[in-house]
Protein backbone atom coordinates (compact mmCIF):
# COMPACT_ATOMS: atom_id res chain seq x y z
CA UNK A 1 0.00 0.00 0.00
CA UNK A 2 1.23 3.50 -0.82
CA UNK A 3 2.54 5.60 2.04
CA UNK A 4 0.19 8.26 3.30
CA UNK A 5 1.35 11.53 1.83
CA UNK A 6 0.77 15.23 2.31
CA UNK A 7 -0.24 17.26 -0.72
CA UNK A 8 1.25 20.70 -1.12
CA UNK A 9 -0.79 23.60 -2.49
CA UNK A 10 0.50 23.47 -6.06
CA UNK A 11 -0.26 19.78 -6.51
CA UNK A 12 -3.72 20.17 -5.01
CA UNK A 13 -4.42 23.00 -7.43
CA UNK A 14 -3.19 20.85 -10.32
CA UNK A 15 -5.65 18.16 -9.29
CA UNK A 16 -8.47 20.70 -9.03
CA UNK A 17 -7.70 21.83 -12.58
CA UNK A 18 -7.54 18.26 -13.87
CA UNK A 19 -5.24 19.13 -16.75
CA UNK A 20 -2.14 17.16 -15.76
CA UNK A 21 -2.48 13.47 -16.63
CA UNK A 22 0.31 12.37 -14.28
CA UNK A 23 -1.20 14.18 -11.32
CA UNK A 24 -4.64 12.79 -12.12
CA UNK A 25 -3.35 9.23 -12.48
CA UNK A 26 -1.29 9.32 -9.31
CA UNK A 27 -4.08 10.96 -7.35
CA UNK A 28 -6.51 8.31 -8.55
CA UNK A 29 -4.17 5.49 -7.56
CA UNK A 30 -3.52 7.09 -4.19
CA UNK A 31 -7.10 7.77 -3.20
CA UNK A 32 -8.15 4.29 -4.27
CA UNK A 33 -5.81 2.93 -1.61
CA UNK A 34 -6.09 5.63 1.02
CA UNK A 35 -9.65 6.88 0.69
CA UNK A 36 -8.91 10.54 1.27
CA UNK A 37 -6.23 13.10 0.53
CA UNK A 38 -4.26 14.93 3.21
CA UNK A 39 -2.89 18.46 3.28
CA UNK A 40 -1.83 20.89 5.97
CA UNK A 41 -3.67 23.88 7.36
CA UNK A 42 -1.01 25.98 5.64
CA UNK A 43 -2.42 24.88 2.28
CA UNK A 44 -5.98 25.51 3.44
CA UNK A 45 -4.97 29.00 4.54
CA UNK A 46 -3.31 29.70 1.20
CA UNK A 47 -6.30 28.54 -0.83
CA UNK A 48 -8.86 30.35 1.31
CA UNK A 49 -6.75 33.51 1.36
CA UNK A 50 -6.15 33.51 -2.37
CA UNK A 51 -9.76 32.82 -3.33
CA UNK A 52 -11.00 35.46 -0.90
CA UNK A 53 -8.53 38.00 -2.25
CA UNK A 54 -9.87 37.26 -5.73
CA UNK A 55 -13.49 37.50 -4.52
CA UNK A 56 -14.15 33.97 -5.78
CA UNK A 57 -16.88 33.02 -3.31
CA UNK A 58 -18.55 30.29 -5.36
CA UNK A 59 -15.23 28.56 -6.09
CA UNK A 60 -14.28 28.92 -2.43
CA UNK A 61 -17.50 27.23 -1.33
CA UNK A 62 -16.91 24.32 -3.71
CA UNK A 63 -13.30 23.89 -2.64
CA UNK A 64 -14.12 24.09 1.07
CA UNK A 65 -16.82 21.46 0.71
CA UNK A 66 -14.27 19.15 -0.89
CA UNK A 67 -11.50 19.97 1.60
CA UNK A 68 -13.84 19.15 4.48
CA UNK A 69 -14.19 15.59 3.21
CA UNK A 70 -10.46 15.03 3.33
CA UNK A 71 -7.76 15.18 6.01
CA UNK A 72 -6.52 18.57 7.13
CA UNK A 73 -3.42 18.31 9.29
CA UNK A 74 -3.08 21.10 11.81
CA UNK A 75 0.39 21.90 13.13
CA UNK A 76 1.15 21.07 16.73
CA UNK A 77 3.51 22.94 19.04
CA UNK A 78 6.51 20.80 18.17
CA UNK A 79 6.02 21.57 14.47
CA UNK A 80 6.59 25.26 15.14
CA UNK A 81 9.69 24.52 17.17
CA UNK A 82 11.06 22.21 14.49
CA UNK A 83 10.16 24.75 11.79
CA UNK A 84 12.30 27.30 13.61
CA UNK A 85 15.19 24.85 13.74
CA UNK A 86 14.81 24.14 10.02
CA UNK A 87 14.77 27.84 9.17
CA UNK A 88 17.93 28.49 11.17
CA UNK A 89 19.73 25.46 9.70
CA UNK A 90 18.78 26.43 6.14
CA UNK A 91 19.84 30.01 6.78
CA UNK A 92 23.25 28.85 7.96
CA UNK A 93 23.57 27.03 4.66
CA UNK A 94 22.68 30.19 2.76
CA UNK A 95 19.08 29.24 1.91
CA UNK A 96 16.18 31.49 2.80
CA UNK A 97 13.09 29.44 3.62
CA UNK A 98 10.08 31.02 5.24
CA UNK A 99 7.64 29.77 7.85
CA UNK A 100 5.08 28.10 5.53
CA UNK A 101 7.62 25.78 3.91
CA UNK A 102 9.36 25.10 7.23
CA UNK A 103 6.06 24.29 8.91
CA UNK A 104 4.89 21.97 6.13
CA UNK A 105 8.26 20.20 6.21
CA UNK A 106 8.14 19.87 10.00
CA UNK A 107 4.69 18.28 9.81
CA UNK A 108 5.77 15.87 7.07
CA UNK A 109 8.84 14.84 9.05
CA UNK A 110 6.86 14.37 12.28
CA UNK A 111 4.27 12.19 10.57
CA UNK A 112 6.91 10.45 8.42
CA UNK A 113 4.86 11.15 5.33
CA UNK A 114 6.29 12.10 1.93
CA UNK A 115 5.45 15.63 0.83
CA UNK A 116 3.95 15.78 -2.65
CA UNK A 117 5.02 19.06 -4.17
CA UNK A 118 6.21 20.61 -7.37
CA UNK A 119 8.00 23.23 -5.31
CA UNK A 120 11.01 20.97 -5.14
CA UNK A 121 13.81 23.55 -5.03
CA UNK A 122 12.68 25.10 -1.74
CA UNK A 123 12.06 21.76 -0.09
CA UNK A 124 15.37 20.37 -1.34
CA UNK A 125 17.00 23.25 0.51
CA UNK A 126 15.23 21.99 3.61
CA UNK A 127 16.35 18.42 2.91
CA UNK A 128 19.93 19.65 2.83
CA UNK A 129 19.63 20.68 6.49
CA UNK A 130 19.54 16.98 7.30
CA UNK A 131 15.89 16.55 8.19
CA UNK A 132 14.30 13.32 7.00
CA UNK A 133 11.98 14.94 4.50
CA UNK A 134 10.84 12.83 1.55
CA UNK A 135 9.69 14.71 -1.54
CA UNK A 136 7.50 13.35 -4.33
CA UNK A 137 6.36 15.25 -7.40
CA UNK A 138 3.18 13.84 -8.90
CA UNK A 139 3.81 15.85 -12.06
CA UNK A 140 6.49 13.27 -12.80
CA UNK A 141 5.44 10.00 -14.31
CA UNK A 142 5.45 7.19 -11.77
CA UNK A 143 8.43 4.91 -12.26
Amino acid sequence: MADKVILDTDILSEYFKGYNANVAARAAAYVTERGVFAFTSVTVFEIVYGLQVKGASSQLAKVLAWLDQNEEITPVASDYRNAATIKVAAGRQGSVVELPDCLIAAIAVRLERPLVTGNTADFQAIQRTGVKLIIENWRDEQT
Binding site: I47, G91, N119
Partner: protein, 90 residues
Protein backbone atom coordinates in the same frame (compact mmCIF):
# COMPACT_ATOMS: atom_id res chain seq x y z
CA UNK B 1 -9.43 -0.81 25.86
CA UNK B 2 -6.76 1.59 27.02
CA UNK B 3 -5.29 3.97 24.49
CA UNK B 4 -2.04 5.77 25.27
CA UNK B 5 -1.42 8.97 23.36
CA UNK B 6 2.01 10.43 22.74
CA UNK B 7 2.56 13.91 24.22
CA UNK B 8 2.15 15.43 20.72
CA UNK B 9 -1.08 13.55 20.10
CA UNK B 10 -2.45 14.51 23.50
CA UNK B 11 -1.53 18.11 22.87
CA UNK B 12 -3.22 18.03 19.47
CA UNK B 13 -6.45 16.69 20.99
CA UNK B 14 -6.39 19.26 23.79
CA UNK B 15 -5.69 22.04 21.30
CA UNK B 16 -8.65 20.91 19.16
CA UNK B 17 -10.90 21.00 22.22
CA UNK B 18 -9.56 24.40 23.30
CA UNK B 19 -10.13 25.75 19.80
CA UNK B 20 -13.70 24.48 19.83
CA UNK B 21 -13.20 22.15 16.87
CA UNK B 22 -14.36 19.23 18.99
CA UNK B 23 -16.29 19.34 22.25
CA UNK B 24 -14.65 16.51 24.15
CA UNK B 25 -12.32 13.52 24.04
CA UNK B 26 -15.40 11.37 23.58
CA UNK B 27 -16.35 13.34 20.47
CA UNK B 28 -12.77 13.00 19.23
CA UNK B 29 -12.93 9.22 19.51
CA UNK B 30 -16.30 9.12 17.76
CA UNK B 31 -14.86 11.22 14.95
CA UNK B 32 -11.77 9.02 14.72
CA UNK B 33 -13.89 5.87 14.46
CA UNK B 34 -16.05 7.47 11.78
CA UNK B 35 -13.00 8.12 9.63
CA UNK B 36 -11.57 4.58 9.84
CA UNK B 37 -10.74 3.21 6.38
CA UNK B 38 -13.11 0.67 4.90
CA UNK B 39 -12.55 -3.02 5.46
CA UNK B 40 -12.70 -2.81 9.23
CA UNK B 41 -15.83 -4.92 9.42
CA UNK B 42 -18.29 -3.25 11.71
CA UNK B 43 -17.60 0.33 10.67
CA UNK B 44 -19.04 1.63 7.42
CA UNK B 45 -16.75 3.35 4.94
CA UNK B 46 -17.16 7.13 4.67
CA UNK B 47 -20.14 7.67 2.37
CA UNK B 48 -18.25 9.75 -0.19
CA UNK B 49 -14.93 7.86 -0.08
CA UNK B 50 -15.29 6.46 -3.60
CA UNK B 51 -16.32 9.72 -5.15
CA UNK B 52 -13.91 12.13 -3.47
CA UNK B 53 -11.53 11.76 -6.40
CA UNK B 54 -14.25 12.42 -8.94
CA UNK B 55 -15.57 15.39 -7.00
CA UNK B 56 -12.21 17.12 -6.82
CA UNK B 57 -10.67 16.27 -10.20
CA UNK B 58 -11.33 19.13 -12.60
CA UNK B 59 -13.43 20.99 -10.04
CA UNK B 60 -11.68 24.15 -11.20
CA UNK B 61 -11.16 22.96 -14.75
CA UNK B 62 -12.83 25.72 -16.71
CA UNK B 63 -10.35 28.15 -18.28
CA UNK B 64 -11.50 30.92 -15.92
CA UNK B 65 -11.27 28.77 -12.80
CA UNK B 66 -7.94 27.29 -13.85
CA UNK B 67 -6.49 30.76 -14.29
CA UNK B 68 -7.94 31.70 -10.91
CA UNK B 69 -6.39 28.80 -9.01
CA UNK B 70 -3.08 29.38 -10.81
CA UNK B 71 -3.18 32.91 -9.48
CA UNK B 72 -4.02 31.65 -5.99
CA UNK B 73 -0.96 29.38 -6.05
CA UNK B 74 1.15 32.22 -7.40
CA UNK B 75 0.03 34.47 -4.53
CA UNK B 76 0.73 31.71 -2.02
CA UNK B 77 4.20 30.98 -3.31
CA UNK B 78 5.10 34.66 -3.51
CA UNK B 79 4.13 34.90 0.15
CA UNK B 80 6.19 31.83 0.98
CA UNK B 81 9.24 33.38 -0.62
CA UNK B 82 8.76 36.84 0.79
CA UNK B 83 11.75 37.34 3.07
CA UNK B 84 11.27 38.45 6.62
CA UNK B 85 11.72 42.21 7.02
CA UNK B 86 14.83 41.77 9.10
CA UNK B 87 16.77 38.70 8.17
CA UNK B 88 18.84 37.09 10.85
CA UNK B 89 22.59 37.08 10.54
CA UNK B 90 23.86 33.52 10.47
Amino acid sequence: MTITLSPDQEHAVRAAIDAGRIASVHEFIEHAIATLPSGSGSVEAPPNARTIFEQGLGMLGSPEDAALIDEVVSIAYQERRRPSKRGAAF
